[in-house]
Amino acid sequence: MKKLLIVDDEKHLRLLYQTEFEAEGYKVDTAADAMEALGMFEHERYDLVILDIKMPGMDGIEALGKFLGRDNKLPVIINSAYDSHKDNFMSWAADSYVIKSSDLSELKQKVKEAFGESIYEF
């Protein structure tokens, strides 16, 4: 079973994403900020990270660089309410950049695509 780490500072969104992706058949962990996520990454291996950008403390762009520093093949999907972070070149290191929406079909599709293209298997 593929294991996702969802990083978002909004509690209700974490709960929503967890419910939806578990229903899709994934195992899901969540983190409320980037530091917590990086700490979890030290002890657990994940197949994909869904990453918010605008969070208290370390933002998702910086966290993305640190995730890739630990595992350069880790698929990461940015899931942000804003498209302005596309100006930041490090955001181009994400596999996809999804604008947050109540309709999760695009996010789910990008997760599927990431696994389709990824050679990352355990």
């Binding site: 910086e62 993305l64 660089g65 640190k66 890739l68 520093g69 350069n72 093949k73 100006d87 930041n88 070149f89 490090m90 181009w92 290191a93």
Partner: protein, 413 residues
């Protein structure tokens, strides 16, 4: 005044290499900070190219042994006006995203994406800080724009012996588009223009910024050496518009001078190249001044030895040599040498085919040949160096081509 192209462009000079094959010159300094040609440091040639091309937004990415380079940039190159958006910034590794030093040239760019974010240039020019050549980079960028290229690689035709196993070799189609790239092939394919030559990568690149970012990101996610020459460029060639900017004289098609100072042998030969009566690389070209940070020294003088007692004093002489300011040739004979500032050579000493760096003191009666003597070395009177390899090898490293290497601050008593 900066050219219009330069306003859309950021120049990044890669100056972080360890320079192991230049040891012991790189024992205390990075390769771009190694003194060259008497009064210069190697990076001065790339920076002078930038200055003469009108490119004045420059980031120098340092890494190993960067103190000497950083000090040189501050003392010698604080010449631009930041208020006019002109600068030469020395950038040490920030470890912003990754807790490692640069794994390769492409990783150096990946780890510094934030520099591109600050400026958002349309083009990025990537240069090496350890080459000797004169190039108008503005012409290369204009070519890049004309070709609607995503990447333009400066190339030069090199003899097979220089290219084989040492340099990246390219094949181009009649329009200049690169169709094949091999990194350091043992049997390079010849270029079409000059027989016996191969078209080699000079390590000078113009990228459209978006192409640079996308391809460096793609490389960062692969298990490669994260090097432009080995990894990024070969991967780009099949799917991207990659062009060769051939480094030849515009009028006659003559191959222009370019040397990669990778080894002690290259370093020695490139210094000696300066001594020919009409060197291919001319420091006296008023159209292309090479800037140096020299410091304050009195003029050089060649004098009759003051201390020769009881016999006729010899006149200090220099033949076919570069003698920098602050040097005293005190009744000594110097032939085919490159002598940096502040060197003293004592009475009746004979020095030939050698490179002597700043502040070195050579005592009376010494005989020295084919030696590379770093800064502030002191050699007691009467010593012989470069004539007896077995004896020299007890004290010093000797390069493959037989150059005796004396490290900085060494005292030979």
């Amino acid at each position: 005044m900066a050219s219009d192209i330069s306003k859309e462009l950021l120049t990044i000079i890669l100056a972080g290499g360890r320079g192991e094959r230049l040891y012991p010159l790189t024992k205390v300094r990075s390769k771009p900070a190694v003194p060259f040609g008497g009064i210069y440091r190697i990076i001065d040639f790339t920076l002078s190219n930038c200055l003469n091309s009108g490119f004045r937004r420059i980031k120098v990415l340092c890494q190993y042994m960067s103190h000497s380079l950083d000090r040189h940039l501050k003392e010698g190159w604080s010449i631009f006006c930041r208020e006019l958006d002109e600068y030469i910034d020395s950038v040490p590794p920030q470890q912003q995203f990754q807790e490692t030093w640069y794994k390769g040239t492409a990783d150096a760019i990946f780890q510094n994406f934030y520099l591109l974010d600050l400026i958002h240039p349309k083009y990025v020019m990537i240069l090496s800080g350890d080459h000797i050549y004169k190039m108008n980079y503005a012409e290369m960028v204009r070519y890049h724009i004309e070709k609607k290229a995503e990447l333009t690689v400066a190339t030069v035709e090199a003899e097979m012996s220089r290219a084989s196993g040492k340099l990246g070799v390219m094949q181009v189609d009649p329009t200049g588009r690169i169709v094949d790239f091999e990194e350091k092939p043992l049997k390079p394919k010849t270029s079409s223009a000059h027989s016996g030559h191969a078209l080699v990568n000079m390590g000078i690149y113009v990228f459209n910024t978006d192409a640079l970012v996308r391809n460096v990101v793609a490389d960062a996610k692969r298990d490669t050496s994260h090097d432009f020459g080995r990894d990024v460029i070969p991967a780009m060639i099949p799917a991207h518009r990659c062009y060769s900017f051939n480094f030849v004289d515009e009028t006659g098609g003559e191959i222009l001078y370019w040397r990669d100072i990778g080894t002690i042998e290259n370093y020695y030969e490139a210094n000696m190249d300066l001594l020919s009566p009409r060197p291919r690389f001319d420091l006296f070209d008023p159209q292309w001044p090479v800037r140096a940070h020299i410091g304050q020294y009195p003029p050089a003088k060649m004098i009759r030895a003051a201390s020769a007692q009881g016999k006729r004093a010899k006149l200090g002489r220099a033949r076919n040599s570069i003698i920098s300011h602050g040097c005293i040739i005190d009744g000594a004979v110097v032939s085919n040498c490159v002598i940096s500032p502040g060197v003293y050579i004592g009475p009746e000493a004979e020095v030939e085919d050698s490179i002597i760096m700043h502040g070195t003191h050579i005592g009376a009666g010494c005989r020295i040949c084919r030696s590379l003597i770093d800064k502030n070395v002191s050699i007691a009177p009467g010593k012989t160096i470069g004539y007896e390899p077995e004896q020299d090898s007890q004290h010093f490293m000797i390069s493959e081509n037989g150059i005796v290497l004396i490290p900085k601050d060494f005292k030979l008593l």
